[in-house]
Symmetry: C2
Subunit: 191 residues, 2 copies
Amino acid sequence: MSYRDGMSARVRSEERRAEIVRAALEVIAERGYRGASMAAIAERVGLTQQGLLHHFPTKDTLLVAVLEERDKWDAVPAGTWRLDLLASLVEYNAMRPGIVQTFSALLGESVTEGHPAREYFTERYGRVRESMAQVLRTEYGDRLPNGLTPERVAPLLIAVMDGLQYQWLLDPESVDMAGAFRDFVTLLGED
Amino acid sequence: MSYRDGMSARVRSEERRAEIVRAALEVIAERGYRGASMAAIAERVGLTQQGLLHHFPTKDTLLVAVLEERDKWDAVPAGTWRLDLLASLVEYNAMRPGIVQTFSALLGESVTEGHPAREYFTERYGRVRESMAQVLRTEYGDRLPNGLTPERVAPLLIAVMDGLQYQWLLDPESVDMAGAFRDFVTLLGED
């Protein structure tokens, strides 16, 4: 019996899901949100559409899995985020429009009633607000130069990143996303 | 011949379109983005769905018309916007989740390839960046206290408004949209 034969069905299924998520990310990067059809993703990973639907019953569930996977890759060990790393992340995002477009399109849909991505985003924003407050506290202490607390500034930091993505995706020639984010850091004031 | 009989077909058609847009706005306010189906909007305005499709061939074209109409209502005479008026607008938006949700959902979709609302948003952001730069120049002159120009800060101001809407729509209990926007104005510094 080979190693592979010995794997449990659960492990094989998880491995296959991970392959599908990687394939979806590739197709999104190449063809964008709309071009990344379930048919195209199934073909990339060598499955029938029926086979793909067995692992991910809808495109939205697959896209949420892609975004969760990106969160894992983008994660840095707790307490090690710094403002200048965030600026680098924005710079990096400006080189991967496919995934930024997927995030932004799905975030838009998620605010509608009963959307399958709503829970992912609600939970994610709660978590990210806490982690950004931590970043700001590490950088500035309990008050920023303007007197606001890290907890008050965290939602603004996130809002700027998200909002700039929309302006940049719509009109990349007119909007320098990374430069604008650095301007926001300037607004926060000198440490 | 009555006044009504004397109206040209074009005027009657424009009047009917305006009625439909108002009805759509009502249905959106009551039932949200997903609840505002073409069937529900047709019923509200006393048309068959076929009749509605004659004026607006898709839900997206109707929604863009609703957002254009809102832009007209929210508009203030050129050169009279002020930062404190913007803060009031955000406060007002916090009382009309239906239209904010429609704007946010459609903005999300618009960044995908070939979406019918893409042109509306791209054009709108170009215009709004100019008008916000004007607001900032009126308030601060050619440089803000932190040294940035009004043109550099304008995209951030808009990004914060848009980004806060997503966080607020997802979790209205945790996010005070109007308070957070006033915090952003604090970040801009004293005049």
